[in-house]
Amino acid sequence: MSEQRDHVRDDGFDDWLDAIEDGEPYYLTCSEEHGFLPPRHVCPACGSADVEPAPLPATGILETFTVTSVSTPTFEDDAPYVVAIADFGPVRLTGRVVERDADDVEIGMTVEPDVVSSETSGERVLAFRWCSTSWCC
């Protein structure tokens, strides 16, 4: 299989991870107030070209999760790991649940976004950290 050159950034996506690391997470929105993730020229829901960033709500609610035991080669040393979808209001995100035993992960948990490194590849991975209180984040 072919491999890409090292350190080629993905416009929009890597900028978004940078923003999470800088503590300024955002999402994109249009004049109809649809929420979506970059990179976008138009809103995927209505086609509006009036696309603007807006601050991402600080916390989200875990809607579903799974403990993945059989991974792709890029996460072999990370497995088993917990992947979840969390609802942040205008957008949902898919990320890795960290600092929490798999047995203690529950639907309805409040989480905040973060960025961690894959133990296998060192690449950046969107992560969810558990917020033990509503004001922790």
Partner: protein, 388 residues
């Protein structure tokens, strides 16, 4: 509008045939379909071929001409890719061409070679059907994406791993008489529940196997079939496709399949039937939860009740409306690019009366196939009916 007849069907065995190239698999399936149809190769006007992973598993792009060559057909050819729906995308295109009068005889099919890859590499290859930036880079695999849906389903509608296990048990039982099936092996609920977890709550037996195989059809216009005296009693009378956002988290529902609903509604409308008229169905059960979501979105079961359909014997071989009498992807196997075409071949055989399980649906006249790509960002549904 010309009616589309299924004139010939051809399948290779599905299973672990790591050494078999897709060109050789498709050569076998297409020869069977052409023999079954009893049409001259020189009458085939085009080859429409489905495949998902060719670049990754065989380093082979531009597969259309290669497969026409393998079939011994001198005709233009192209490949169709729609992830796990790659095998029904060319069928849908062929139906539109024959209906429009553009073509009378088309060779349609698909193939996939997967077991030459390691399990990890096959898992990685299949994951390319998900959103690379926003899902795969967070660690999503296909089993984990369907596991996310399964847990969301349990949370929304109730249900359990035990109820899902009945789907696997049913489809394995259906495959017992299907000599082409990858897994002709009876299992029970405890086998499913005790199998190693792949991605909780789904375990090994909630998942279809990784398979190699090919499938082919000869589709003709009604007029060609009649002029040439073909034995082609089954027609594709409805086709419908639905789409959705690629990433699961961008969908309206995590525990429903709106693309399947849209595809089903369009196919029912196209055929002029309602869901109530479906006697037998082949649906996309890459995981046990996928069959549940499919039969609900196709209106074969009410929302939230599909989970009990196998356990309560509504979809079993002797049920009111059997689902996946071939064994489904779950037991028949899922060589991705072949699956959609194979579903049509299985249904045609069931309706013609020459399928090993035909005796269980002797009075069936109306059937459907449902094939899904990714976490159902693509859904393609066909309605088949006995017309002659």
């Amino acid at each position: 509008m010309s009616e589309v007849r299924v004139a010939g069907i051809g399948l290779t065995p599905f299973g672990e045939y790591a050494e078999r190239t897709t060109r050789e698999l498709f050569a076998e399936a297409s020869a069977s379909a052409i023999d079954d149809a009893d049409v001259a190769r020189t009458d085939v006007e085009e080859v429409l071929y489905g495949n998902f992973l060719g670049e990754l598993s065989e380093r082979q792009g531009h597969q259309g001409p290669l497969m026409a060559e393998a079939a011994g057909v001198q005709a233009p050819a192209a490949r169709y890719e729609a992830a796990c729906a790659s095998g029904s995308a060319p069928v849908r295109e062929a139906v539109k061409r024959i209906r429009s009068g553009e073509s009378d005889v088309l060779l349609v099919g698909g193939a996939e070679r997967m077991t030459n890859l390691t399990t990890a590499d096959a898992t990685g290859a299949l994951a390319t059907a998900a959103d690379d930036l926003w899902e795969v880079r967070a660690g999503v695999t296909f089993p984990s994406a369907y596991a996310l849906m399964a847990r969301a389903y349990f949370d929304t509608y109730g249900g359990s791993r035990e109820a899902l296990a009945h789907v696997a048990v049913k489809n394995h039982e259906h495959a017992l008489s299907n000599e082409l099936a990858h897994q002709q092996q009876a299992i029970d609920v405890s086998d499913v529940l005790e199998a190693p977890r792949i991605s909780s709550p789904l375990g090994l037996y909630d998942s279809c196997p990784i398979s190699d195989g090919a499938a082919a059809l000869v589709l003709t216009s009604e007029s060609y079939a009649e002029e040439h005296g073909l034995d082609a009693s089954v027609a594709i009378t409805g086709t419908g496709q639905g789409g959705d956002r690629l990433a699961l988290h961008d969908r309206e529902f995590l525990a429903r399949s709106p693309a399947t609903r849209r595809a089903g509604e369009r196919a029912y409308d196209d055929a002029g039937i309602s869901a109530d008229e479906v006697d037998v169905a082949e649906v996309h059960d890459c995981f046990t939860i996928a069959e549940v979501l499919a039969i609900e979105a196709l209106d074969l079961e009410p929302i939230g009740e599909g989970i009990s359909a196998a356990r309560d014997c509504r979809t079993t071989i002797d049920g009111d409306r059997p689902v996946n009498l071939s064994g489904g992807l779950k037991a028949k196997g899922h060589p991705v690019g072949a699956t959609g075409t194979a579903q049509i071949a299985e249904i045609a055989a069931l309706l013609r009366g020459d399928h090993p399980n035909s005796e269980y649906v002797e009075d069936a006249t109306t059937a459907l196939t449902h094939n899904a790509g990714g976490t159902v960002a693509t859904a393609i549904v066909h309605v088949l009916e006995v017309v002659a």
